[in-house]
């Protein structure tokens, strides 16, 4: 069994997760209908805010990652993620879709909450997997998801995530 034998990845606290939030890294109402449209618009946002320069390369990496299996993890949440040569630092972008996105999620339900995580290749001991794990863990909490659907700014996003249940 892989899971029993695997090394435990370092955990992250809810507070440590909050360090990745930034007012520029929140899209309150992402207008997109499909998964690719959503990912494209999130990458474009990162380029516009100067977190990325070569959006096409990152977009390709994210689309390739989706070929492994959908990052729509169910219950209205998606966590598109990838490492890329052209990513300078671990970056988290949160986007909310009021209407919902046809994301090909594992439960086939529309996605409303999207957390895009980008990382460089050369940070194998970094926070990439812990951040990924923490976001999945926190958004399993229905109260957190409900709160995130109502937040107005990044401070409220932080408050909602901080109050999420941890294992």
């Amino acid at each position: 069994m892989h899971s029993a034998e695997a090394k435990a990845y370092p955990s992250m606290t809810n507070k440590e997760l909050l360090a990745y939030l930034h007012p520029d890294l929140f899209i309150p109402d992402l207008k997109a209908r499909t998964k690719i449209d959503a990912i494209q618009k999130m990458v474009a946002h990162l380029v516009e805010k100067k977190y990325l320069r070569d959006g096409r390369i990152v977009l390709e990496a994210l689309k390739t990652r989706e070929k492994l299996g959908s990052t729509g993890i169910g219950k209205g949440v998606a966590v598109p993620h990838s490492r890329s040569t052209v990513t300078g630092a671990l970056t988290l972008l949160f986007a909310r879709s009021i209407e919902g996105i046809d994301y090909d999620a594992i439960d086939q339900k529309p996605v409303h909450l999207l957390f895009m995580i980008l990382a460089p290749h050369q940070d194998k001991n970094s926070e990439y997997l812990p951040l990924l794990g923490k976001l999945v863990e926190v958004t399993r909490d229905a109260t957190v998801r409900r709160r995130l659907l109502k937040v107005g700014d990044v401070a409220e996003v932080a408050e909602a995530l901080e109050k999420g249940k941890s294992k």
Binding site: H2, K7, D54, I57, E60, A61, K67, G69, L129
Partner: protein, 112 residues
Amino acid sequence: MNAQLEALIMLQDIDLMIQEMTDQDTASQMSRIGFDVNAVDNLREAREELIRKVDADLFVVYQRLMQRYPRAIVPVRNQVCLACFVKQPTKDLPTDQTVRTCQRCNRFLYYI
């Protein structure tokens, strides 16, 4: 950016993704987090498609570099290769015309 350099970077991203997802520890961690990462063959197909966009000569060099180093394409800042830390000649400033390589380690350079 030079189209060939862009294709090489995309190829490196796929190759490193395949490496990561075929690493048992990482694949196990991804599964435990809740992501299905079993369809690595789909990445290999995407890789084959991308290889068709890369010049044959550059691909040979890329493969050789990937056998020697963890990454074949490395960043350059202020004319310094951030892999071997050797300063590049100022005549080698980036243009869209050519794919630059480091004067010392010969890796492809990506200007940041």
